[in-house]
Symmetry: C2
Subunit: 410 residues, 2 copies
């Protein structure tokens, strides 16, 4: 007889739905659609020549190790390189404070697994990264949304949230996904003090930190927390768990990211990863190390910045020209996304349907809210499409939005 | 103030311990230890030349796709290749019945996440694969151990277990890890009938299926289940979820494995993977496909078989010569492991301590039992060490065992 699988699933699976973003990414596979929906880096900036050289070098001299099982923590030279990189920013981090993950999404999943009991509250920005909500929904998290503006989380509203007793605070301070906003230095400092006062840890997600196109670098929350504590005992003991990734600087197809945390948290994450997938691809770690070890990324990031800055500028210019005055949007200082807000009565999901008829796509913003808000918002990616494609796509989207505003489209 | 992390962890994490196997793998990093403890393939058989050619080919012609984000299901040509391979064995499987995972450990983890509610019973062989127990402990599984002998799970004892109402049955029919035993054709058929009769699905874990050194191939449980059902509706609808991997045929460092299941189960697994790590490395999938697509693995597996068969034979000969008669062991027809049973009063963990002084390592067998049994058992890996190293290692281990038997070592 047929197996009735649907009655075999665990509770957590029965409620699980497919990701809005991943379903939408399917549109990007249709070649005639201009998609601002994905979060893809520009393939133009992948350092393919350097990858070839690195693959050859690694396979010629370290093939037996690179193709073998590796340690769960990750390839030590790669972790040491990351720790040296952090030393530039005055954070004392050793290889024992670092674990390599298969993309930042895996780090988010593991943090959920290590910390979240069903019903635990997590403080998030509103809007916040959809992938984090997806990862933590699987562990039964509940969310306290703190509103944000163009300078990030409105920290004045944070204290109220902290009195609820959340497990941790989740922030994306640089060029946030989805909003593109950057948390100001003052707010970062206030966040650290409040978190310390209430004894609540911070998870800082920083995939785009190096992709700044205007203005000066603001120290990470982890760096500021270290300064605030002024502890110099040779290893990282801060209140911040910091995530970053090679996906935006090298290649997302390698699935390489890292977590920085106090060593006792790293030990828990390592045990979690042992049971979850043993370790991240040794080969990819060897290759990424080989590409990056001579300082290549310092040069390469300049190419990425120049490419994405141009695309952001083209998108903003075109929006000025083509979008109706009733729509507002952020002007991000870096990263890959900007955020549009339509009049409240307009439903972005309905606008998307019309936009798809015009062969242009974006992500409706509601999915980035843990509280059902944001139906009139949209996320636009400016890193993937070339300037000409951006011009054409924003023209199409502008026409769609003008119609929507005129028709009072819901 | 310092963050008291230990009070922030979720319930599931507080109980979590490090893997015995992974901790033991640390011994293999000491160059003077002869380790039969790990489960490592021989680096001698890694097809390094073919990997170099494949990396160059992929980066030259498909760099932009191979380094980009990919679909959660996995690279379609790779999934189609796996489905064609299965067609040889008369299992109708399409690409929609296949998901690529980051190693089989990830497939085990995802099956736990999709199916296991806290307290659910899982039927396992005794002994069984430690990595499966680790993965499923995280979801609060309980185990029903069915004893096994040299022909695999003793199916006569299975019916009693099925009446408890388990979520699924977990078997490793070929050259089992850890015992090295192979389930007979008759038992496979009886397993399928009993599972169908009680409506309980089977998870078949088959990492070593192609690594047979003696005797004839026995069809997989998935194949036999398909024949039993005799359904030919164009896609796989069996009662068996089948796992296999490229780790033993190509390279474990790539972290590439796959799950075969009815498409509705694959859909749940895909949603799980979306939230867990988005997708498995595109680059590695492109490279593995490039290496394998021309039929290379059919030739390469012959090299692996010849290498491992010699090592198994050397280990068995040396054990005959060096081990005391009170110790018994399996004579596996394939795979990478054999299994030793000492007199009941001898504790393998204590023997290991002495063995490590003699610079030889193995895995004490208790960890492979879900019920605390097997303290007098041990797993030996014969694939990693060269024949000369095996001779020396078994000599050292033989001396240790003779002492243990003589001293009534506990």
């Amino acid at each position: 007889m047929q197996t009735p699988w649907e009655y075999r699933y665990a509770h957590r699976t029965q409620k699980m739905g497919s990701s809005v973003i991943r379903e939408l990414l399917k549109f990007t596979e249709q070649p005639d659609i201009i998609s601002f929906a994905g979060g893809l880096p520009a393939p133009d900036v992948f350092p393919i020549k350097e990858f070839r050289e690195a693959c050859n070098e690694v396979l010629e001299h370290q093939g037996a190790q690179a193709l073998q099982y590796g340690t769960t923590e990750g390839y030590r030279p790669l972790r040491e390189m990351i720790s040296r990189h952090n030393a530039r920013f005055n954070v004392e981090v050793t290889a024992d404070n670092i674990m390599i993950t298969s993309g930042s999404q895996q780090a988010l999943d593991f943090l959920g697994r290590v910390f979240i009991n069903r019903g635990d509250y997590i403080v998030v920005e509103s809007p916040t990264y959809l992938g984090a909500l997806q990862a933590w929904n699987a562990y039964g998290a509940q969310y306290i949304s703190v509103p944000s503006d163009e300078h990030g989380m409105i920290v004045e509203k944070l204290e109220e949230a902290l009195r609820i007793g959340p497990k941790f605070i989740y922030v994306l301070p640089n060029f946030q996904n989805p909003s593109g906003s950057t948390m100001s230095l003052e707010r970062r400092k206030r966040l650290i003090v409040l978190a310390d006062q209430y004894g609540v840890p911070i998870v800082e997600d920083d995939p785009y930190g190096q992709l700044r196109y205007d203005g000066d670098h603001i120290p990470s929350v982890a760096t500021l927390d270290s300064r605030y504590r002024n502890e110099t005992n040779g290893e990282y003991t801060g209140n911040v768990i910091y995530l970053s990734t090679f996906s935006k600087l090298l290649s997302p197809g390698l699935r390489l990211a890292w977590v920085i945390a106090p060593s006792e948290v790293i030990r828990k994450l390592v045990m979690t990863k042992q049971a979850a997938d043993l370790h991240t691809s040794s080969f990819n770690q060897f290759v990424a190390y080989e590409v990056a070890k001579g300082g290549f990324l310092d040069e390469h990031v300049k190419v990425i910045r120049a490419t994405y800055k141009e695309r952001r500028d083209v998108m903003l210019e075109m929006m000025d020209e083509m979008f109706p005055p009733e729509v507002r949007w952020t002007k991000p200082l870096g990263g890959m996304f900007l955020w549009g807000v339509m009049p409240e009565h307009i439903d972005a999901a309905e606008v998307l349907k019309v936009a798809l008829e015009r062969k242009v796509a974006f992500v409706p913003g509601a999915a980035f809210h843990s509280n059902g808000n944001g139906k009139n918002t949209m996320r636009l990616n400016f890193s993937f499409s070339s300037p000409d494609v951006i011009r054409e796509g924003i023209t199409r989207l502008g026409l769609t939005l003008k119609e929507a505003v005129k028709n009072g489209h819901k």
